[in-house]
């Protein structure tokens, strides 16, 4: 009996994955729990374990293949060893000969799909890359800009938005915080009062509720209550809105809530292009800006502007 190993969904928003590495080869015996591959998801690189036991009959994708849809077969495992041959080359040749016509067709269509995706990749970047690139560009230009939040540095971002920033800018400006929303939000507001430009990443905007007093009573109102003396140049950003199968606490839209607060500006980009233009404008804005990213759109690819002064005016 042949069992298909499918590209697993390793996060609620993952729709496709990249095959980084095979840890097994064709003909090899695998036991349940063995790590068989490394898959790069939209959030991280994860190890995939075998659930079933048997012999690897066929690896359907090569290392380095990208954009393999979730639930697409990536390998076949057979209950029995197909050949006693000790020569792996022979095994492979034998295996290939025994390959069914369907598998050949499947392979061909998958290769074609991968090629198409690669071409698209060259022309477009994803929403998460557009956001990351804009943060990096503004951090290069202005030393007052820094980013803090849960898992933004060493982990490279819970949604991989801040990937690579720690390496480029160091721990002084890319700061992992404890799970302490009210504390680090208030701290960032104080830093903004004092002249820095913090970018606060909420792992998701659901957790901004822990810090909403600092956002509204401190960040949004102090300019008014100080008679125009103390402004708060800060960006609060992170995933917002409907997410997939995570229930009511992790799937809500705050655009209306925050839009009711005088002193805040609220943005929600819908394409990589306007994510770049709006985020750059938000970072340069002297007021507190709520930047609501849609979790489901992080993987959306589109054209962007490579002008590092490109902004989209609000309103």
């Amino acid at each position: 009996m042949t069992i298909e190993i499918l590209m697993p969904a390793l996060s609620p928003t993952m729709t496709e994955g990249n095959l980084t590495k095979w840890l097994v080869s064709e003909g090899q015996e695998v036991k349940a729990g063995d790590i068989i591959a490394e898959i790069e998801t939209d959030k991280a690189t994860m190890e995939v374990e075998a659930v079933d036991e048997g012999f690897v009959e066929k690896l359907l994708f090569k290392e380095g293949d990208v954009n393999i849809p979730v639930n697409k077969p990536i390998a076949l495992i057979s209950g029995e060893q197909k050949t006693k041959s000790k020569n792996i080359k022979d095994e492979i040749e034998l295996g290939e000969k025994q390959e069914s016509k369907e598998i050949k067709e499947l392979n061909q269509s998958q290769d074609q799909q991968v090629k198409e995706d690669v071409i698209i990749d060259n022309e477009h970047i994803s929403m998460r890359e557009a956001i990351r690139d804009t943060i990096a560009e503004e951090m290069r230009k202005d030393k007052k800009v820094f980013i803090l939040g849960e898992e933004v540095a060493e982990y490279q971002g819970a949604y991989k938005v801040t990937q690579g920033l720690l390496e480029e800018f160091g721990e002084k400006r890319v700061i992992d915080t404890p799970i302490s929303e009210q504390g680090f939000t208030g701290l960032a507001v104080g830093a903004a009062f004092k002249g820095l430009t913090p970018i606060v990443e909420f792992m998701t905007f659901n957790f901004s509720m822990q810090a909403i007093d600092q956002i509204i009573n401190s960040a949004a109102k102090t300019l008014y209550m100080s008679g125009g003396q103390i402004n708060c140049p800060i960006v609060f950003r992170g995933p917002n809105g409907a997410a997939s199968q995570v229930a009511a606490q992790h799937s809500q839209d705050f655009s209306s809530w925050y839009s009711h607060v005088p002193g805040l500006k609220v943005l929600a980009p819908s394409t990589p292009l306007n994510a770049k233009g709006l985020l750059r404008a938000a970072i340069r804005d002297p007021n507190p800006v709520i930047f609501l990213e849609n979790e489901i759109l992080y993987g959306l690819k589109g054209e962007v502007s490579y002008d590092d002064d490109f902004t989209i005016p609000f309103g």
Binding site: T177, S180, Q182, G186, G190, K194, M225, S226, G227, G228
Partner: protein
């Protein structure tokens, strides 16, 4: 620490007295309806802020609670413009839009005046973060009422300050009551400064009725924080003679308790020291007292003669 000069002693005395006379005048103006909204007086606590400010450097920052009039005065800000703010005038420190609880002076590194109990603590920690980020050797002093010491964000801020070794000096002004609830009825365990120990933050108790004790402790703590060792907590034991706010008759405490503190009045402590050291005579101090009354009175007159903000100001300073 440098020995206090004669001028220092007189500065301490006049600053403390100015706060008291200012607050008494505020109380009067509140009663006359010239000050609206909430108004929290600092009478009895003068030694705390005046003592701490004797140790501050010019570019150090300060953040405090809504009981902020005394903090503004001790910082050397213009009493005329403070009174203008209390009476909601356009020439007040916050253009009449902050009032008693929300006064700011960015040019003097005075970052409020915060009306939400506890919220100023992460903010002050963020200002300290900025001093470290900019490597400018300045520190931020964040004042915390005893009531705020039961507010969760204070501990989040302590954790961050200790974790990142921020130049943050926390000064708990323990005046024994969070509004009408005594510390004993609000805080489990004894000694509020010990709550920093969980984060490895050192601290101590200071006699806040004696300005000289405050100066000594604030100087030591300030040097510790400035040296890059991280935050420090001073729990300054003090007492407010008046109620929590103007509308509080303070029936939750006994007259005997109030009298006990009045008998160790912080201004009398300074006065006695000055007389004892022959820095000034009783008569000279009386003269200073009269000048302060005049200064505060003219500040009140100035405020009451000043214009209110125009209606259109409701719509300005919402966005920069």
């Amino acid at each position: 620490m440098k020995k206090l000069s004669k001028i220092d002693h007189l500065k301490i005395y006049s600053n403390m007295l100015k706060i008291r006379r200012f607050e008494e005048r505020s109380s009067q103006l509140y009663g006359m309806g010239h000050i609206g909204g909430f108004c929290h007086l600092y009478i009895g606590q003068e030694a705390v802020v005046v003592g701490v400010l004797m140790t501050i450097k010019k570019n150090d920052s300060v953040v405090t609670t809504y009981r902020d009039h005394g903090h503004m005065i001790a910082r050397g800000l213009d009493v005329k413009r403070i009174m203008s703010e209390l009476t909601g005038r356009a020439n007040g420190y916050s253009a009449g839009k902050g009032g008693s609880m929300h006064m700011f002076s960015k040019e003097n590194n005075f970052y409020g005046g915060h009306g939400i109990v506890g919220a100023q603590v992460p903010i002050g920690t963020g200002i300290a973060f900025t001093h470290k980020y900019n490597s400018d050797k300045n520190i931020c002093r964040t004042y915390i009422g005893d009531g705020a010491m039961n507010n969760g964000q204070v501990f989040e801020a302590f954790n961050l300050a200790a974790l990142w070794k921020l130049p943050s000096l926390y000064i708990i002004e323990n005046n024994k009551y969070g509004m009408g609830t005594s510390v004993d009825r609000a805080a489990a365990g004894s000694d509020l400064y010990k709550r920093g120990e969980a984060f490895g933050i050192k601290g101590e108790i200071v006699d806040g009725m004696n300005v000289y004790s405050v100066i000594k402790a604030a100087n030591k703590a300030g040097e510790y924080v400035r040296s890059g060792k991280g935050p420090y907590i001073l729990e300054v034991q003090t007492y407010r003679y008046r109620g929590h706010s103007m509308s509080d008759p303070a029936k939750y405490r006994t007259k005997a308790e109030l009298e006990k503190y009045k008998n160790s009045d912080p201004i009398e402590v300074v006065k006695n020291e000055i007389i004892k050291k022959k820095i000034a005579s009783n008569k000279e101090l009386e003269k200073i007292g009269k000048e302060i009354i005049e200064e505060v009175k003219s500040a009140a007159d100035f405020a009451l003669e000043s214009n209110f903000p125009e209606n259109k100001e409701l719509y300005t300073d919402v966005y920069l």
